[in-house]
């Protein structure tokens, strides 16, 4: 027998007991050819193209899942940033298009469709403005549509006018869904340096450099990494890195196999493997618990950033060797509401908002799924976004903000978002305002690429 018994057992244990799964297969679909000066025609073309291209996505993914015995949790779609095809459409029409996307997702039986997006890191075009105006309503009146807005990049700096608008948009979106704890904001990401092939939501979109249609895969497995580390309680940090690397390698290989198989059966090119460690609320499927296993009493304490940097880098190294096409965000996600260890860290007053910000400078994304005091002002939200964008711009990395100012909730309350989105303790913000910074507007210039100290 080619494969040893203990190796088979390891794989089976990873899948059945340690939550190894393919987190998502995401089909990227270009919608550029759907653009039309007649809105109704465009609306129809978008619906037909998506339901036609992804018609078999769910069915094929489920078949592959059963044959290989490894769960594929989500089947998703990412599309061309919608602002780029809006043209002269009105705000009302943009909202109608969001509903069309929602309906397409419902018809296909997929959980999210990402790409109700605009790239405004340098300036806001007519279509971008229409999309921004439509956002709060579009997100609160749809269930499956995810939006992302790029407001900063290392090459162009930070568009503070857009940052200012995003604070207001988030407040309005939260207010419109106040009976559901501001859920609309859980589907809205503000990006710096976004990637064009991210398969994970809510930030997925099918970038301008992508082809007609592509299949991207996101794997996950914090539980697997955690269990591997538990077997080496005395290892030094070099060995810890090695254990994570080897585990990431195995996870990624499983993901690539499944991704390529699904792509082959759908007759669609395979795009990239995103090897992010993405936590879920399942027992022991937590990124925070990995950091604690490395040696922290509670996530958020001193040493958290060192441990996270080690882990993030090791995941990338293991994954990069396992797949020829690594892309997306690849690294570790640290969403609060989807990670029991993070939630515990906040409840125990170990993990704070400033520490979370600092963590984003060494992990793959940013402030993610954090519930904030409902009284936070739009300008404070904008300032929080601006800080996060600055971290990304200067460090030449993707950063993002997906926070929910929960209407009517105060610091210390616990809010439920349901399903994969989990629950989160509400965090307070700094009480001193930043109105003047935001009201100045304009652009923060792109940084020097030399003299880097």
């Amino acid at each position: 027998m080619d494969i040893a018994l203990n190796e088979m057992l390891e794989t089976i244990r990873m899948i059945q007991m340690e939550n190894l799964d393919i987190r998502t297969v995401t089909m990227g679909i270009s919608l550029y050819d759907c653009a039309d000066s007649d809105f109704d025609k465009m609306n129809q073309k978008v619906y037909h193209k998506i339901t036609n291209y992804a018609g078999e996505l769910k069915e094929v993914a489920e078949k592959v899942e059963k044959e290989y015995g490894i769960p594929i949790i989500n089947k998703r779609i990412s599309i061309t940033p919608i602002a780029e095809i809006l043209g002269n459409a009105t705000k009302e029409q943009a909202i109608e298009l969001a509903k069309t996307l929602d309906q397409a997702a419902l018809t296909l039986g997929i959980d999210f469709i990402g790409g109700y997006s605009a790239l405004v890191h340098k300036g806001i075009s007519k279509g971008d403005q229409t999309l921004l105006d439509a956002l709060p309503e579009a997100l609160s009146e749809t269930e499956r549509v995810c939006a992302s807005i790029s407001v900063a990049s290392t090459r162009s700096g930070i568009n503070m006018d857009a940052v200012g608008k995003m604070g207001m948009i988030m407040k309005e979106a939260a207010e419109r869904t106040k009976e559901r704890n501001g859920l609309a904001c859980a589907k809205l990401v503000v990006f710096c340096n976004p990637v064009e092939d991210n398969p994970f939501m809510a930030g997925a979109f099918h970038g301008a450099g992508e082809g007609e249609v592509v299949l991207n895969v996101g794997v996950s497995g914090p539980g697997v990494v955690l269990n591997a580390l538990k077997k080496h309680p005395e290892a030094d940090l070099g060995e810890v890195s090695d254990v994570i690397k080897k585990t990431a390698f195995k996870i990624t290989r499983a993901g690539e196999l499944i991704g390529r198989e699904v792509a082959k059966r759908l007759d669609v090119p395979f795009g990239i493997m995103d090897l992010s460690l993405a936590p879920t609320n399942a027992l022991n499927d937590s990124v925070a618990e990995i950091l604690e296993e490395i040696g922290l009493k509670r996530v958020g304490t001193h040493g958290t950033i060192a441990a996270l940097a080690l882990m993030n880098d090791a995941v990338k190294k293991g994954g990069a060797m396992a797949s020829s096409y690594v892309g997306g965000l690849s690294g570790a996600f640290i969403p609060v509401s989807e990670d029991n260890g993070m939630i515990q860290g906040i409840v125990d007053h170990s993990l704070t908002l400033p520490k979370l910000e600092a963590m984003t400078s060494v992990c793959s994304v940013g402030l993610d799924m954090i519930a904030l005091d409902g009284d936070v002002s739009a300008s404070t939200l904008s300032a929080l976004i601006a800080d996060e964008m600055a971290i990304g711009v200067i460090n030449k990395k993707t950063t993002a903000v997906r926070v929910i100012p929960v209407p009517g909730k105060k610091e210390g309350d616990m809010v439920e978002f349901g399903g994969l989105l989990g629950r989160a303790p509400v965090m307070g913000v700094n009480g001193f305002g930043s109105e003047k910074l935001i009201s100045r507007g304009g652009r923060i210039p792109a940084p020097l690429q030399s003299l880097i100290n």
């Binding site: 088979m8 057992l9 794989t11 044959e67 290989y68 015995g69 490894i70």
Partner: protein, 91 residues
């Protein structure tokens, strides 16, 4: 036709007749066993079989039969294509 192989894994409490019952399902489906190995780990019975599934369109129906047996014996029985193990453990 390309050879297609699957791994049948059985994990659970040791008891009389496990192998007999699992192989009965396989022979009932005209499936040839290529390799078989078994061990007892801390009172847990563990068995892996490599099965030739060339020409089998759908493993679903097999898995369903195994599910019924799993229930009856209180064991975990799974069938999955062999490539997943190769991908994870071989470069």
């Amino acid at each position: 036709m390309e050879n297609k192989r699957a791994v049948v894994s059985v994990v659970g409490k040791d008891q009389v007749g496990i192998i007999a019952k699992v192989t009965t399902i396989l022979s009932g489906n005209q499936l040839n066993i290529l390799d078989i190995s078994q061990t007892i780990l801390q009172d847990f019975f563990t068995m892996m079989m490599i099965v030739d599934v060339t020409g089998v369109e759908n493993l679903d129906q097999l898995q369903q039969q195994f599910d019924e047996l799993s229930e009856e014996l209180g064991l975990k029985i799974n069938i999955q294509l062999e490539e997943i193990f190769k991908a994870m453990h071989r470069i």
